[in-house]
Subunit: 197 residues, 2 copies
DNA sequence: TATATAACTGATTAATCAGTCAGCCTAACT
DNA sequence: AGTTAGGCTGACTGATTAATCAGTTATATA
């Protein structure tokens, strides 16, 4: 791994766990054994470093989901929906730093007057919204899911899992303890009530 | 309003909109027309000022819900659940600074080694969880709501509305546009399926 | 080997900010 | 009028930090 990649990785962890303001360029440098001027050699400012981190996180998330869907086959839309939610929660545990970063306020604040930042966030959340929407559409086609607005229902499911992950990351409630209940609720809510699946 | 209350109010707005690190004691002072030393006269440190703000927000939230339930009567548990969710969303719009503050990471970070902070957050989230739980229990007693774990289901509903409010505060998706769908989903998910309400 | 370019660094700077302190002003009480 | 005390302030300090820059080392290429 190149020094630049080292720095990017260290910055991801630090921005995620301490936040933007509470991470100094010196800290990032120390974590990689470099001098602080080296960080500025690779990234011209702290803000640019942050944008590179976010861009990297976006690529990581999009890759993870594209690999997941390339290798998985689903019996029907309802199964796909439940499986996708499970994978989202697995990813939130496995790549906790990505979700911690997205649950900080700084990226959204920056996005207010930085178009690139805004775009990264939109790409990430559209990816999330799309996967749930696709499962709902598939389920409506194969009859496993009731007639609901796929986009809006998808966004509601995203709100729920995003909220659960936030609660876990903030040490409020454990997402794991609610897992079975979540799946049951999603089935109740989405399942076609005119057929027994 | 006393100068101390002025400062507390200004600090609430600034901590909520800019965050803890990005709010300087000088800014808080300037917003109230006081000298920065005055802020330190009333609150011995920046952290203590933040804790006073959070304590105040906690009292505000608990008061709002206790007034709401004192004056409202509900036909049944399912109506109570839907009404409570609506009131939560109304409050999140009306007292946006409270929810913005709660959607920052700093309070949870501070709570890791500050017992008082931890307690304020627990009081707030227990209040939220309790109101949904109470509605679910009532609904199970009067037959309008199905047999579900009231605590866990309550937490799931809280995750959903908390997630929606976060999306709105982060300018990702508009909670208002999802309102009708949210209410429909809650009814589908919680309603007793053995009776037509 | 010579040379050019990229990678890296130590020292420094200018600005910001939490917190301190000695003293001033005002209102209440005697 | 004199005294006391709480509320308030301007001026200051020490620490931190993003960013710069002149200069050094490593690498690759001719």
């Amino acid at each position: 791994m190149s020094k630049k990649e080292d720095i990017l990785h260290a910055a991801t962890l630090l921005f995620a766990t301490h936040g933007f303001k509470d991470t100094s360029m010196t800290e990032v440098a120390e974590m990689t054994g470099a001098a602080s001027a080296t960080v500025f050699y690779h990234f011209k400012s702290k803000e640019e470093l942050f944008l590179s981190v976010l861009s990297n996180v976006k690529d990581g998330i999009l890759d993870e989901f594209s690999h997941y869907f390339r290798e998985k086959k689903f019996a029907n839309g309802l199964d796909m929906l439940v499986d996708t939610v499970s994978f989202y929660l697995y990813l939130a545990g496995n790549k906790a730093e990505w979700f911690l970063l997205l649950h900080r306020y700084y990226p959204y604040k920056l996005a207010e007057d930085n178009i690139a930042c805004r775009q990264f966030l939109e790409d990430i959340y559209n990816c999330f919204a799309d996967i749930f929407e696709k499962a709902l559409v598939k389920g409506q086609q194969d009859g496993s899911i009731d007639t609901l607005s796929p986009r809006k229902t998808g966004l509601l499911i995203l709100s729920t899992v995003d909220g659960m992950v936030r609660f876990k990351n903030c040490n409020l409630y454990d997402a794991g303890a609610l897992y079975n209940e979540l799946i049951a609720v999603i089935r109740r809510m989405a399942a076609n009530q005119n057929q027994l699946t």
